[in-house]
Symmetry: C2
Subunit: 220 residues, 2 copies
């Protein structure tokens, strides 16, 4: 069974809004996420129900089926692999990749994705630090802590940022706090929660509690 591009996009939106198929999702919220009208969503939900990628009872909401989750994860996998390609090979900036990956994720070729994965050396995380599902849809989720919650002398690796506005990403780029950077908390100021951070065993960096609250770290 094959899905259209539109169906893939709906499934992906539903997957994200439902927190991986755990929660129920409102028609209105899907419409907001997809930037279209609730009436269009209702229609699509009926179709997705017929294809059995969701279980749909009208007026009562929906549940993703196992099949639906697999499809969503495949699309997410492709999106994130392409993001890695764009950043690592074509030197795109973090904030330039989304639009293009949004198109590339719908290219249909199992061989292409296998080869791309291999070419990129089987990355486990995308440039924003989000995990890349493997070909079976398995995700190796790492425990994450907000940087502002870490204690002095604790170490880890930056794995994600919460605020992905262009301005914030530019700031991070400037200070060298890229995804994958190894960090160590050197000092913490009591009264405002600001931090002194060692980045990649070289640069030290002062950071406000607010900024640190937007950075996720895998502790090690």
């Amino acid at each position: 069974m094959d899905l259209t591009t539109a169906e893939e996009n709906y499934l992906k939106a539903i997957y994200h809004l439902s927190d991986g198929g755990k929660k129920s999702v409102a028609t209105n919220d899907i419409a907001a996420e997809m930037k279209n009208k609730p009436a269009s969503v209702s229609d699509m939900l009926r179709k997705l129900g017929e294809k059995e990628v969701i279980e749909y009872r009208k007026y009562y909401g929906l549940q993703m089926t196992e099949s639906g989750k697999r499809f969503a994860l495949q699309t997410i996998r492709k999106h994130r692999l392409w993001e890695v390609f764009l950043v690592e090979k074509l030197n795109f900036a973090w904030d330039e990749v989304h639009e293009v990956a949004e198109q590339l994720e719908h290219i249909n070729s199992a061989l292409l994705i296998q080869r791309l994965d291999s070419y990129l050396n089987y990355p486990k995380f995308d440039p924003h630090g989000d995990p890349i599902p493997d070909e079976f849809g398995d995700v190796r989720a790492r425990p994450r802590v907000h940087l502002n919650e870490m204690e002095i002398n604790q170490t880890g690796q930056i794995v994600a940022v919460k605020d992905s506005s262009a301005a914030f990403l530019r700031y991070l780029d400037k200070v060298g706090a890229y995804i994958g950077a190894r960090i160590k908390v050197l000092d913490k100021v009591e009264f405002d929660g600001s931090l002194e951070i060692l980045v990649d065993q070289k640069k030290t960096l002062f950071m406000s509690k607010d900024v640190a609250g937007n950075i996720l770290v895998q502790q090690s």
Copy 2:
């Protein structure tokens, strides 16, 4: 003005069938090339006429406009750049790339194509030896000769093959006669036209007139 994927595919087909916009093309031939029905083609020609990428007088055939040629060349450029990527970076075989490139050519991002071009080191020819138009649609066409028409001691570079059946491509791969290979005609047998070829100043190779007739060489 933007074109849909279907419109891009029609323009590309028309460009090829009309030999770069020079000849007129029959509705039936477009239908055959696109594997759909003449009625569908008529309809699309009307639309393409309205968008002024072709000049269309019903029953009388069509002419590509300058705008139409530019669009077609951009699509061809993207297709061939992706083919280079698939073969050189992802290790696709010559006969595996077409289908996937057919999808990738419709990805819409000027930046992506610029970066891809740069990443591939501004290739001038695709893996089949067909020229890649530059971003302005200019094509550096090289004079080509069939290998069987070359004389003893003449040299050149293989730029294309006419028969692109998987069997033929496998044969060429096996004997090392890939696109770009530098060749020299060492000897020519009078009575059957078969040739002795030096490939890349290393291997010598015997080749029937028939095989040589399917290989195009840029003389140098």
